[in-house]
């Protein structure tokens, strides 16, 4: 069995777990989770109760309900809302993982309803069987459009899906796992899926058509048979290099440093032993010492934004999140390409500024009016208020000290009566912005 973390499991550990395995804590949630102890906490995430969406319902800037199928960007808001309100954060986080793993962009699909259908598929199989998930994704309409599955027919085989299925979804590139011949033969095996075009609805009627399927014998990974799309998937999942690919990739979503070789092997055994099931592997990862003792991890824009809203108990009430998250480098339903988002490149001067703007957007409606609010002109008290406002995040000593230093200096500037009265509110507003934009809150 892979090693299990045996250190203290208090608020800091529970908070990190909630950020890595979800979208961060709601106020008080980390303290409550800590009481369950490590195993109880992890189990509550991997075996959640019935899903509910808790909190204010989402709406657009005019107060109207979202129209995810029809209004541009509303599908992104619909999903962000689920991240904010879900009582099953791990399942929702896994949905995001699969969206990156089987990265499909709306740019290549068209109608939002097809992206949402794929999204439901990811959620349904969030912690289930990877084998089933792969099979379902292979004939998912959005994926069929995105990677040319509907163009792949026996007289004109299209290699797009066959290649990416092996290279990006199951085996990996440059490992000696497959040849160009395998790519061609996979394409042949995958033939048969098709759709129709409706002038109003766009692509419709996704179905398997035997006439378009190449029924001949294919040779894939050295095996021969009259393979079809189900065999394609089966062959990939049973490929000798699949478990190591799977474990390394899945681990990287939760822990930023590579797993020790022994752990990786144990997780592979666990994965295969449970018939390519995701839940036991995720559970083992969430129990692993590396998650608690290892370095911090940069939050993706989706996690950062949803987490901020959860901490503020705020619902989706503006469409601004769509373009703000895009500036921050992650627009839901629009991964940059089939390889997904590059999680080693979340932070640069452009995306850092975008995160600053996300924080501004989040705190703006709560801003204190300096002529109305009566606040203490005490740096420690103002800092404590800001921490409370943001849900009591765990801050490093260095950040805490710098924020207090800022508040003290700013209070010291108040050399007139009106300044003494008004600066505390301005400083409180600034503390909220700085804290939300601190390196601490960009990582977990």
């Amino acid at each position: 069995m892979p090693p299990v973390y045996r250190g203290p499991f208090g608020k800091p550990q529970a908070e990190r777990l909630l950020w890595r395995a979800g979208f961060g804590p709601r106020p008080g949630e980390a303290e409550r989770l800590a009481k369950h102890g490590l195993h109880g906490a992890v189990h509550s995430l991997t075996h959640p109760g019935r899903e509910r969406l808790r909190g204010p319902k989402p709406h657009d800037d005019n107060g109207h309900p979202l129209a995810p199928n029809d209004a541009w960007g509303h599908d992104q808001l619909w999903w962000l809302d689920r991240m904010v309100r879900t009582t099953q954060p791990l399942a929702e986080r896994m949905t995001l993982v699969w969206h990156d793993w089987f990265a499909t962009s709306q740019d290549g699909v068209g109608p939002a309803r097809l992206m949402l259908r794929q999204n439901r598929l990811f959620r349904k199989h969030a912690l289930g069987s990877f084998s089933t998930l792969l099979t379902e994704v292979t004939h998912d309409p959005a994926m069929l459009l995105w990677l040319s599955g509907v163009d792949n027919e026996k007289d004109a085989p299209n290699e797009n899906y066959g290649r990416e299925m092996m290279e990006l979804f199951t085996i990996g590139a440059d490992r000696g796992g497959y040849t160009e011949h395998d790519v061609r033969e996979q394409a042949r095996a995958l033939t048969g899926w098709r759709s129709d075009w409706d002038d109003n609805l766009g692509p419709v009627n996704f179905r398997y058509d035997k006439r378009r399927h190449d029924p001949g014998v294919k040779k894939i990974f050295g095996k021969k048979g009259h393979f079809d799309w189900r065999d394609s998937c089966r062959l990939c999942v049973h490929h000798r290099l699949h478990p190591s690919f799977f474990i390394t990739k899945l681990w990287s979503y939760f822990i930023p440093t590579a797993p020790p070789a022994a752990t990786r092997r144990e997780l592979e055994r666990l994965y295969v032993h449970h018939g390519f099931a995701v839940r036991p592997v995720v559970e083992a990862i969430l129990l692993h010492p590396a998650l608690y003792r290892g370095p911090r991890m940069v939050k993706s824009p989706a996690v950062y934004t949803a987490g901020l809203l959860r901490a503020l108990r705020r619902g989706i009430d503006t469409e601004a999140w769509t373009w703000l998250m895009s500036l921050a480098g992650q627009q839901l339903f629009y991964p940059p390409n089939v390889a997904g988002w590059d999680d080693s490149r979340w932070l640069d001067t452009a995306t850092y500024r975008a995160r600053w703007q996300i924080a501004s957007q989040a705190i703006e409606k709560h801003q204190l009016k300096p002529d109305k609010a009566k606040l203490p002109d005490n740096a420690s008290k103002l800092l404590a208020r800001a921490e409370g406002f943001l849900g009591q995040p765990v801050l490093t000593g260095q950040t805490h000290a710098e924020l207090k230093h800022f508040a003290k200096r700013a209070l010291g500037d108040a050399n007139a009566k009106w300044k003494k009265e008004q600066y505390p509110a301005l400083i409180e507003n600034a503390l909220r912005q700085l804290m939300a934009s601190s390196p601490d809150l960009q990582t977990c």
């Binding site: 290549g108 990677l147 163009d151 990287s252 640069d348 710098e402």
Partner: protein, 438 residues
């Protein structure tokens, strides 16, 4: 989430069948500031962030290098309007409504059958000074009339849909360095595909005016203190990813301070540029200023204003686009001359194809060979390839190419950039080299 390789544009679907994957899509991107020059840059490609500032400084203090500027007219500019056979009866027959009047534009002195489009008077002026090499029909065999495909071919310097690096990117891989991202500069929010490299870093310039850090309910003294707090918050941390976040904060703060001089009209220009509601002249003015400030640029890519995919209502949009573009390019040339830089810069103007000879309603369909120009004091000033005429169209009714864009690239690489074209353009040996430089 970890990528297997920084490969460009994989898995993008075909919008049109067989559409290639755009070069450069999906390249790693980072932003950083050059301390010395105060520029906000997004940097693409591998390489250590810390090395760039030293590398740029080092390159800037070395000998001045020739600069190639690539100006792209998006959509397929109508060659038969850019240079029109004014008196040819076939031209009038093919284009009953779109044919331009013989008196409208100035005569093209190298082939008096042709007149310049009236909006291109500025180019005619420069041509009169021997500073423009005209390519009246540049393209390639087996022309592809898909925007994405044909543009892709021009960007990657080969008729290869799967090539993912740009031709200028590959030139930089061959002749550039690992520490100077300014060697390949895209004047845009994103990397222009012709600059996509496999190895060396290249960059794109972000907009300097937008880089502010405002917070709700914060102003005056307190705002100043808040902004000052970014630097200490960005101080070095022990945890590597916490440190990554801290560095982003610190760099953003540095960038904010350094963009003040470049924001708005932070630099002067010795000549007037067209006063239009478009960023193109402003970007060219900035480019001249950057060159004057000795930034070590080698290849620069920019998109011209205007929409040239004129399927309908062609005359006005084409005239407007060409007008702003030509006036801006003239101002840019004069700017370089005034700054004593004109000997160092050559500008290639291109489009992904020309348009069908026969008009279609009020516009034109996609064609094949199109117009190209090389502008600069050291441009040879002599036409490259003859005008093929409208009486000898290809089987699709398009202009036949009398110059191959790959040969043009080879010439530019060898004659202007002093490098080996075989290392950059696939099949370089098979293309004849027009003389482009004097």
């Amino acid at each position: 989430m970890r990528r297997t390789a920084a490969e460009a544009g994989r898995g993008l679907p075909a919008i049109e069948p067989g559409m290639p994957l755009p070069a450069g899509t999906g390249l790693d991107r980072r932003s950083f500031v050059t301390r010395t020059f105060g520029l906000a840059l997004s940097v693409y490609g591998l390489g250590k962030l810390g090395l760039f500032e030293e590398g740029i400084a080092r390159a800037a203090s070395g000998p001045a290098q020739p600069v190639l500027v690539s100006v792209f007219l998006p959509g397929g500019a109508d060659a038969l309007s850019v240079l029109y056979p004014a008196l040819d009866p076939t031209y009038r027959k093919l284009r009953p409504t779109l044919a331009l009047d013989p008196a409208a534009g100035p005569v093209f002195t190298e082939d008096t059958r042709l007149h310049w489009h009236p909006s291109l008077q500025p180019l005619a002026t420069l041509h009169g000074e021997g500073k423009v090499s005209v390519l009246p029909a540049v393209g390639y065999t087996h022309p592809d009339q898909s925007h994405f495909t044909s543009r892709h071919f021009w960007e990657v310097g080969a008729t290869n849909a799967r090539l993912t690096s740009g031709w200028m990117g590959r030139y930089l891989d061959h002749a550039g360095t690992m520490d100077n991202p300014l060697q390949g500069l895209s004047l845009d929010y994103q990397l222009q595909p012709s600059l996509a490299s496999n190895k060396v870093p290249v960059a794109s310039v972000a907009s300097p005016e937008e880089y502010s850090f405002w917070a709700p309910g914060v102003w005056g003294d307190v705002e100043q203190r808040m902004l000052n707090a970014l630097r200490p918050l960005g101080a070095r941390r022990k945890d590597p990813f916490l440190n990554q976040a801290a560095k982003a904060a610190a760099q953003s703060d540095r960038l904010r301070r350094q963009l003040a001089p470049f924001a708005g009209n932070g630099y002067g220009t010795p000549v007037p540029y067209p006063d239009v509601d478009d960023s193109f002249p402003h970007q060219l003015a900035g480019l001249a200023a950057m060159l004057a400030a000795n930034l070590p640029l080698r290849c620069v890519a920019i998109t011209a204003p205007g929409e040239y995919d004129t399927h309908s209502d062609q005359p006005q949009p084409l005239a407007d686009g060409l007008d702003v573009t030509a006036r801006s390019l003239l101002a840019f040339q004069r700017d370089l001359e005034a700054r004593g830089l004109a000997n160092r810069v050559l500008t290639l103007v291109w489009s992904e194809f020309g348009r069908r000879a026969e008009e279609n309603d009020s516009g034109t369909d996609h064609g094949a060979a199109g117009s190209g120009f090389l502008i600069g004091t050291r441009a040879r000033g002599k036409m490259v390839g003859e005008f093929p005429g409208v009486n000898n169209l290809d089987e699709d009714g398009n202009l036949r190419a009398t110059a191959d864009f790959r040969g043009v690239y080879c010439s530019l690489i060898e004659q202007w950039l002093n490098a080996d074209a075989k290392a950059v353009i696939p099949g370089a040996g098979s293309f004849s080299r027009p003389a482009l430089v004097k």
